[in-house]
């Protein structure tokens, strides 16, 4: 589904990603861990198409096509979803209106019929209930004044409604209380199918108890310095990153 080959990217001449190799196949869950500032969010941003990052080398293929060549909205319509580490507050833009427009943009691209207001509401209310979001949520502007936890749940709600093929979750667990963590993890797990994949960026092994990864990668200074199975996350939890960084050096 996703093949990243020797990907290098930076910002204003400052290299951040220094040659990333990563393959994600349908049906897999990958966890990416690594110290603060190692480039995890940058990788997510480059894959989602944020302006301002210069790709200086390598490539990223999505279903065999050049992902980096597509505009952000084209990537989204093709099934790439990024749950933001810091979801953006958009005052004045009604959540219902926003989400229905997004869902219909994606549906239209897939050749599906647009959802009318009623069918959309029906669908979204079921998902909101699963995520423990109250109904007043739909009347509020997108993320405006939301608590940290509400913002993260909103990301998962959007993901659920957009039904992506490749979901990248950037620290969706940070700022969540224990109950919310379980709710969010359940939300992600419900989406898991043979024809989609998740890349989960996290600092905490805790999340990986709920969303069990097939692979765990450690990113340090813009390179993946170690990959393993879920036991690697346990080992990191116990020993930190230092030993790995030394081993890699």
């Amino acid at each position: 589904m996703l093949q990243i080959k020797n990907l290098q990217a930076g910002i204003e001449d400052k290299p951040i990603l220094k040659g990333i190799d990563l393959s994600v196949n349908a049906g897999e869950v990958h966890a990416i861990m690594g110290p603060n500032g190692s480039g995890k969010s940058t990788l997510a941003s480059v894959l989602a198409g944020r302006d301002g990052f210069d790709v200086t080398g390598g490539k990223a293929l999505y279903n065999g096509n050049d992902l980096l060549d597509l505009a952000p909205e084209e990537r989204a319509r093709e099934g790439v979803f990024l749950a933001f580490q810091y979801p953006v507050e958009i005052p004045g833009v009604n959540s219902t209106y926003f989400l229905r427009s997004a869902v219909n943009a994606v549906r239209t691209h897939r050749g599906e019929e647009e959802l009318d207001a009623m069918n959309f509401l029906k669908a979204v209310k079921v998902k909101m209930k699963e995520l423990g979001l109250g109904e007043d949520f739909l009347k509020r502007p997108v993320n405006a004044g939301f608590s940290g936890g509400e913002k993260k749940r909103n990301e998962i709600l959007q993901m659920t409604m957009l039904d992506p093929r490749l979901a990248i979750l950037d620290e969706t667990d940070s700022g969540l209380d224990i109950d919310a963590l379980r709710i969010v993890a359940d939300g992600v797990n419900r989406l898991r199918r043979d024809d989609n994949a998740q890349v989960v960026i996290t600092h905490y092994q805790r999340l990986l108890d709920y969303i069990v990864p097939d692979f765990v990668h450690v990113l340090n200074d813009g390179c993946i310095i170690k990959s393993g199975d879920k036991s690697l996350a346990l080992e990191l939890e116990e020993k930190g990153y230092d030993w790995l960084i030394k081993e890699a050096a």
């Binding site: 944020r50 302006d51 505009a71 989204a76 953006v88 958009i90 943009a105």
Partner: protein
């Protein structure tokens, strides 16, 4: 005044006064005092601190033509059918060039104790009150208004009464000559525990450089709850000057919304005096300017009693070479403890040539208060656009959504459903028609 047009001589103040005296001698002291103040001050200049960013020289240079008499050509109902709020289920007072038009107005059955009429007919006994709230203001346009106002609305709601329908004050100018000036005076007196919604709209039917100069005095009693929506959508050469003077009683609720879309230059002076404890006062404004337009909101919110909340929210969308001016002064008097005053002014610049001048001013003489202010001037937020694009929305849809949202933040504070919905649709339509999103 240099540009007197000989074919259409401008009105001499003396001549105007003779006519106005015939309409009510009791107001003459107010008029004379106004004229004297104006003769003393003249028009404001950029050197006046309160007018630093708004140059009224183009108004000063116009021929002086107060519309003391109704202008020749009348207008018919057909010309008002499609105007904003024209179909709203409301009692409607229509004023044409500052003169009440009974044929175009409709006043239904309001409860006894509610008076909805035009000032000239209902003023008897109130003459001495006129100017009691605006009197202390040194704004030259208030002085001019004192001197030359022809008419306006009078709304009185007795204690414990509600307006059963909103009252719509529709002010239109038909003027075809530059300098024709409608001086309008409104009086709103809301008794204790009274309620109501008032919509004030200002439109132009002509295209000339007309002047609308409106002064509104509002006395809001203890426990009263009033919503006031002011909508200004005048033509491209028009000048619009407005001044609102409100005094609020204990536990009063007052929401004033200013939607400024039209006119070459508009200025709204808002003077709120929170005189008793427990008041909640919201000033909420949206200005959308393009071309050479300028919209100026200048407010003083005076907290003269403890335990009052005041919030000002003003958003401006500025395109082309247009300008937005915001001056928000919060004055907390000694003893006004537990004041909660918030103020925000956000400006979205859609062009490199648009400018915003914003000046918050906190003046606090009490120690146990919460006062915050924030102002932003900038372009559309890239992070927000990116966020929307990652959800599948194309850039033009994303920009449109943000712009609508920016305006919607203000519009959605209007509580009256029909008014809010009509304005929302109008603002969206206007943004769609005017702005290029690609």
């Amino acid at each position: 005044m240099s540009q007197v047009d000989t074919a259409n001589p401008a009105v001499e103040p003396v001549e105007a006064f003779t006519k106005l005296e015939q309409n009510g001698a009791a107001l003459m002291p107010l008029r004379k005092a106004g004229l004297a103040r104006f003769s003393e001050s003249g028009y404001s200049t950029l050197r006046d601190e309160d007018w630093r960013f708004t140059n009224v020289k183009p108004i000063a240079e116009l021929p002086f033509r107060p519309t003391i008499d109704p202008l020749g050509q009348g207008i018919g109902q057909d010309q008002l059918g499609n105007v904003t709020f024209g179909q709203l289920d409301a009692d409607r007072l229509v004023f044409v060039d500052g003169h009440f038009n009974a044929d175009l107005s409709q006043i239904g059955d309001q409860p006894s104790g509610v008076t909805v009429t035009h000032l000239v007919s209902g003023l008897a006994g109130l003459e001495r009150e006129a100017g009691s709230l605006s009197g202390g203001d040194d704004n030259p346009f208030v002085a001019l208004n004192d001197a030359f106002f022809t008419d306006g609305a009078l709304i009185r709601i007795a204690d414990n009464q509600c307006l059963t329908k909103p009252v719509h004050l529709l002010f239109v100018t038909t003027a075809g000559k530059d300098g024709e000036a409608a001086h309008i005076r409104n009086w709103i007196i809301a008794g204790a525990n009274s309620q109501g919604t008032i919509i004030e709209s200002h439109l132009s039917l002509g295209q000339a450089a007309t002047v609308t100069n409106v002064v509104t005095e509002t006395r809001i009693g203890d426990g009263a709850n009033l919503e006031h929506v002011k909508f200004q959508d005048q033509s491209a050469k028009a000048f619009h000057l407005a001044s609102l003077h409100s005094e609020l009683g204990r536990d009063a609720r007052y929401a004033f919304h200013s939607i400024a879309l039209g006119a070459r230059l508009s200025r709204n002076n808002l003077r709120m005096r929170l005189a008793k404890p427990g008041i909640e006062c919201v000033l909420n404004g949206l200005y959308m300017m393009r071309g050479q337009q300028l919209a100026d909101h200048h407010m003083i919110v005076e907290h003269a009693a403890p335990h009052c909340d005041s919030h000002e929210y003003f958003n401006g969308i500025l395109d082309d070479q247009s300008r937005g001016v915001f001056h928000g002064r919060i004055l907390v008097q000694p003893g006004a403890q537990k004041t909660d005053a918030k103020q925000t002014n956000k400006n979205l610049l859609l062009s490199d040539d648009a400018t915003a001048n914003t000046k918050p001013q906190l003046e606090i003489y009490a120690d146990d208060v919460k006062c915050t202010h924030g102002a932003t001037i900038g372009e559309m937020d890239d992070d927000s656009i990116f966020y929307l694009r990652t959800r599948g929305l194309d850039p033009s849809t994303a920009r449109r959504m943000l712009l609508h949202g920016f305006a919607g933040e203000i519009v959605e504070r209007i509580r009256h459903d029909a008014v809010r919905e009509e304005l929302d649709a109008l603002v969206w339509g206007r943004l769609e028609a005017v702005h290029k999103f690609d």
